[in-house]
Symmetry: C2
Subunit: 345 residues, 2 copies
C-alpha cells in the first residue's frame, strides 16, 4: 500500500515524568501536545504500521501526556495509547505480515508511536483483527476499557461475593463492568460526583449509586457496605475518598487500585485492619494481567467483539474531533459526562 513519508501527529511536549501532581481534568492540550509533521515510522520485525481511522482518548492518555502515568514520555513522539485502523505495512515476521490489509483494534504500548497521528506503530500481538460487525468507535476503544472490564470483573467473580465497590462509577469502564455484573446477578456499588448520573447508572446495572459530594455520603456508604458486605474495591481515584471506602469495608477486603484521578495524599487509615482483618491493598494493570493470565486474553478478546457485534455493548460517543482541531476542542469535550471523545486523523 502507498504510505507517505510524512504525517500529521499530536506530539508530546514533555519528556519523562512530571513531578507536579494535578487533577483528572485536562485544562488545555497545548502544554502537553502540539500538532506537527513528522516522518512516518517503519515498523520493527514484530510490529505493524497502522493507518489510523479513529483514536480514543482515555484517562490514561491524559495522565500520560502530563507525565503522570507509569511510563515515561519521549518528547516529539506521538501520544495516544489505542485506536482502530488498517494495517498498511509490517515487519518480516509471519504474524505481523498476516495482518496487512486487515482492520484492527490496536494498543501502541511502549512503541513510542501513538495513535493520535495519521499512522501508528503497535506490536502485532497488540493488534486485534476485528469482525466486520464491530463499529470503528467500538474497535478504537476496545482494549483499554472492555478488556480491562472483563479482566476486573473476573477478579470480582473469583472472590465470590455478589457485591463490590467501584469509584468513578460514571466512567465508560465502570459502565461496562456494571453491565457485566447485572447479567450475572452481581451488585455493583458505585460512586459518582453528580446526581444526574445516578438514574442512568442504576439502569445499566449498579445496585447502589452514591454521590460522593452528598452531605450524607459517609453515612450512606457505611449503611450500604454493612448491608451488602462487598469485599472487592475497584478504585480509579485513590485519595481520601478511596481511603474512607476501604476503611469501611469488612474483613478480607481487597482495595485494587487501577487509576489515580485524585492527586491528594492516599492514607491507610487503620493499618491494624491489614493485620487483624486480613485486608490488603494491591494494583491492577491490564498489561500485567495479560502477562500473568495469557490463557484468558484470547477468550476475553472474543467476548468483547461478540458483545460489541450484537449490541450488548456500545461505546457512548461524546465527540469525534478531527486531528487538526483536537488541541482547541478536546478539553471542552472531555468535560462532558457519560461518553468518550475520539480523534479522527
Amino acid at each position: 500500500m502507498d504510505v507517505p513519508s510524512e504525517m500529521k501527529a499530536l506530539m508530546l511536549v514533555g519528556d519523562g515524568y512530571s513531578r507536579t501532581p494535578s487533577g483528572s481534568a485536562l485544562e488545555a492540550m497545548g502544554p502537553y501536545v502540539q500538532l506537527g509533521v513528522i516522518t512516518v515510522p517503519a515498523p520493527g520485525q514484530s510490529q505493524a504500521l497502522i493507518k489510523v481511522d479513529l483514536a480514543s482518548i482515555n484517562p490514561s492518555d491524559v495522565a500520560f501526556i502530563r507525565g503522570q502515568y507509569g511510563q515515561p514520555r519521549v518528547k516529539g513522539q506521538p501520544a495516544g495509547f489505542e485506536g482502530v485502523g488498517i494495517v498498511v505495512a509490517s515487519g518480516e515476521e509471519p504474524y505481523p505480515k498476516s495482518l496487512v490489509g486487515k482492520r484492527v483494534a490496536f494498543a501502541t504500548g511502549v512503541s513510542n508511536w501513538g495513535s493520535w497521528a495519521e499512522y501508528a506503530v503497535a506490536e502485532a500481538v497488540a493488534c486485534i483483527p476485528l469482525l466486520d460487525t464491530v463499529r470503528d468507535e467500538d474497535g478504537a476503544a476496545m482494549i483499554v476499557n472492555p478488556l480491562t472490564a472483563l479482566a476486573m470483573f473476573d477478579i470480582v467473580k473469583q472472590e465470590g461475593e455478589k457485591a463490590f465497590i467501584m469509584t468513578a462509577g460514571a466512567s465508560q469502564l465502570c459502565k461496562l463492568i456494571s453491565g457485566l455484573a447485572r447479567e450475572e446477578g452481581f451488585r455493583p456499588i458505585v460512586t459518582v460526583r453528580r446526581d444526574e448520573q445516578i438514574a442512568l447508572l442504576k439502569e445499566i446495572g449498579a445496585a447502589h449509586v452514591l454521590n460522593e459530594k452528598a452531605p450524607d455520603f459517609k453515612a450512606t456508604l457505611r449503611e450500604v457496605i454493612k448491608a451488602e458486605q462487598p469485599r472487592i474495591f475497584l478504585d480509579a481515584v485513590t485519595g481520601p475518598l478511596a481511603s474512607a471506602i476501604f476503611d469501611a469495608m469488612p474483613k478480607r477486603s481487597r482495595w485494587i487500585v487501577y487509576g489515580r484521578l485524585d492527586p491528594d495524599t492516599t492514607v491507610i487509615r487503620e493499618p491494624g485492619q491489614l493485620i487483624f482483618q486480613h485486608k490488603r491493598i494491591e494494583g491492577f494493570w491490564l498489561s500485567e494481567w495479560m502477562r500473568q493470565f495469557r490463557d484468558r486474553r484470547g477468550p476475553a478478546i472474543m467476548e468483547a467483539q461478540k458483545r460489541f457485534s450484537d449490541g450488548r455493548w456500545s461505546t457512548d460517543v461524546t465527540a469525534i474531533v478531527p486531528l487538526a482541531e483536537a488541541i482547541g476542542r478536546v478539553p471542552a469535550e472531555l468535560t462532558k459526562p457519560n461518553g468518550k471523545v475520539f480523534i479522527r486523523p
Copy 2:
C-alpha cells in the same frame, strides 16, 4: 490438684478500644491495669487452667491494655497474652485432660483470662507441652515471638530474594528472624533507633543495620535497597518510616504489616507503584497464619523447642518482675533495650 478460689491478677481498667492513638512507650501501668483479687476461673470444655510460672510482656500486650490492639478489652479481666506454667485443671475433652500436670507454653487468645495472673485459661490447642530442656523464660515467650519469626521467615524464603527489610530491628522478634536468616544465607536489612544497637544486630545476622534517626538515613536506605533489591518488608512500625521504605523498594515488593508502633498517619506515597510496579500491602497475624497453614504449625513448634533446647535460641531477659511490683516497675524496665520483661505471679 488444689486450686484456690481466688487469685491475684493485673486486671484491665478499660473496656473495648481506645480512640486516642499513642506511641509504643508505656509511660505507666496504672491507667491501664490494676492489681486486684478475682475468682479463679473454671476452664471450658476445650480449655486448660494453668498455674502461671512466668508471663511475658510483648508489644502486643502494651497495645492491648491501651485499647489499641485488634481485640477489644473486657474491663476487670486479667491481661497478658502468653506465659508458661503447669496445667492444673481442664475441660472434659480428651486433649485438654491429657495436658493436666504438664508444663506448657500457652497463649490465652480470646479466653479473656490473661497470663498476668496467678492462674490463666487457654484453649488446649494453644498450649504447647514443653521439653524439659526448654527454660521457663523461653517457654513463656515461645509463641508470640518464635513462632511468628518462623512463620514470617517462611514468607521470606518463599519469595526467594535473599535480602529483605525489617523495621524495629532490635526487637526480640527481629533478632530471632535475623538469626534464622543468617543460617540460611539470607540478608536482613534492619532499621533501629540507636547507634549502640548496630554492632549486636550485625553480629546476630543483619546484613545492614540503618539508624532511622541518622541524618543520611534516607540516602543510605536507597543505596542499600538498590544494591540488595529486597522484595519483602516485615513492618512493625507503619507511619512515615514504613511509607518511605516501601516507596524506595523495587517492583513486586510486599509491605507486610504486623505491628503499629508509630501512631502517625500511614501514607501510600505513590499509589501508581501498586499499578505499574505490582507492589502490594498486606498484614501478618500469627492466629491467621496458624488458621491458614495448619500443616506448618506442628513443625514450627518443634523447631522452636529444638532451638531453645540446644541453645541456638535464647531469650534475652531484661527483668523478671514479681506480680505485686509490676505496676511500679514494668514501665522503667520496658525502656531498657535488647531484652524481654517478664512478670512472675
